[in-house]
Assembly symmetry: C2
Homo-oligomer: 214 residues x 2
DNA sequence: TAGATTGTTAATCGATTAACAATC
DNA sequence: TAGATTGTTAATCGATTAACAATC
């Protein structure tokens, strides 16, 4: 059956988890998997997996389940992971350097092509043989390499300025580690990695638990 | 009016964002804020903020809005941030070291009290004057210091084992950076920081955009 | 007082789950 | 064939939003 609904964002955010689990299954030499089995691995119901996939097509076989390799290919295709995406990283503090040293980008369809910092003392140094450039060069690199995706690991105080710079340069999606919500125009996606906020939401439950409220 | 509903987890996850925005307002010297103004800063509707807060009490004044300092205190109290939470970190790769070097824990109600790795070559070294201990010492430290909260920055391949170790030691909440969903018993909260998954959900939109589908 | 904004209810919207015919 | 599991529909559940009386 044809599906014309545009898939909700929650569904899109689950697809990478399905893909990853399928990669692990493949490594383990598993060739076929049911929605039930896949769901148990990632704590999602079987019905949800089937419903999610139905937004994009029919990938399974009744009575059998899904061919791991095939379903993985389909999902990678849906996510646009058949191509390699150049990305840039702005901010080379402790966290930025750790990200720059991450070895896994290439195998995950991403390639770090630029490293930027606005601190003149850092510009010209290098991290893992990758040269740190000035923020003023962002625009040039983004345009030359057709970069659409940026990681922002800068202090809250300059996050909005850097966002504006990235948007002006042509970046369309930003993953921000800065502890602040930035404003970006329509058509630019911003997502946040916010470990402190996550920890603070867990202390809520810990505090409740400690006082024996459940 | 009294509210007996237990607040949904989505609400709990938004509270830290409200708290943070209020801290910024306080720094800026703003004393009073309406749900409208607060909402604009963090891209949340005014109605949602008021509804969220109503799970916990009445903190505003009709016609006026909220006293920034008071509302912040209330939210910090709700989140259990009136006490300092000891935390441990397992895994001292690039990312783990960056986390260990993070200076902001103290001011955010968290205190790193232990750093662990299972690599004998790393045990005994130190990061920022904090000694790396063997994973075998997790249980002792957790019990001695009453630690409930752990950050896990280990490879996917040992994430489940480390989780089991943490749970056995008495940890009740885990923030995991490992790219795998781990199984934990009831009453133990696990949350994930998964930058690659987030990037992969953004490539979906970039791929759509590139092919001019919207 | 008049204007503004809260807290709360009811309406709406959207996501998840259950159930089952289709079919491998 | 009998058993298993999909894809899809309808029912349920839960979260967001709109609206407004209460009130500062």
């Amino acid at each position: 059956m044809e599906r014309l609904d545009t898939p909700p964002d929650v569904v899109i955010r689950r697809l990478p988890l399905y893909a990853r689990s399928l990669r692990y299954l493949l490594q383990e030499g598993v060739h076929s998997v049911s929605s039930q089995e896949l769901g148990e691995r990632i704590n999602v119901t079987a019905a949800q997996i089937r419903k999610d996939l139905s937004y994009f097509g029919e990938f399974g076989k009744q009575g059998i389940g899904y061919d791991v390799q095939k379903l993985l290919s389909h999902i990678e295709h849906i996510l646009g992971l058949t191509q390699e995406w150049p990305i840039i990283l702005v901010g080379t503090g402790h966290l930025g350097q750790a990200i720059a040293r991450y070895e896994g980008f290439r195998s995950r369809g991403l390639r770090l092509v630029g490293l930027f910092d606005d601190d003149p003392a850092k510009v010209g140094q290098s991290v893992d043989s990758m040269l740190i450039l000035s923020n003023e060069e962002i625009s040039r690199v983004v345009q030359e390499q057709g970069v659409k995706l940026a990681i922002m690991a800068v202090p809250a105080s300059c996050a909005q300025d850097v966002t504006d710079l990235l948007v002006a340069a042509g970046i369309r999606a930003i993953l921000s580690y800065a502890p602040i919500i930035v404003q970006a125009p329509e058509g630019v996606w911003v997502r946040y990695i916010d470990p402190i906020a996550v920890l603070h939401s867990m202390t809520y439950y810990l505090a409740r638990y400690e006082s024996n409220l459940f």
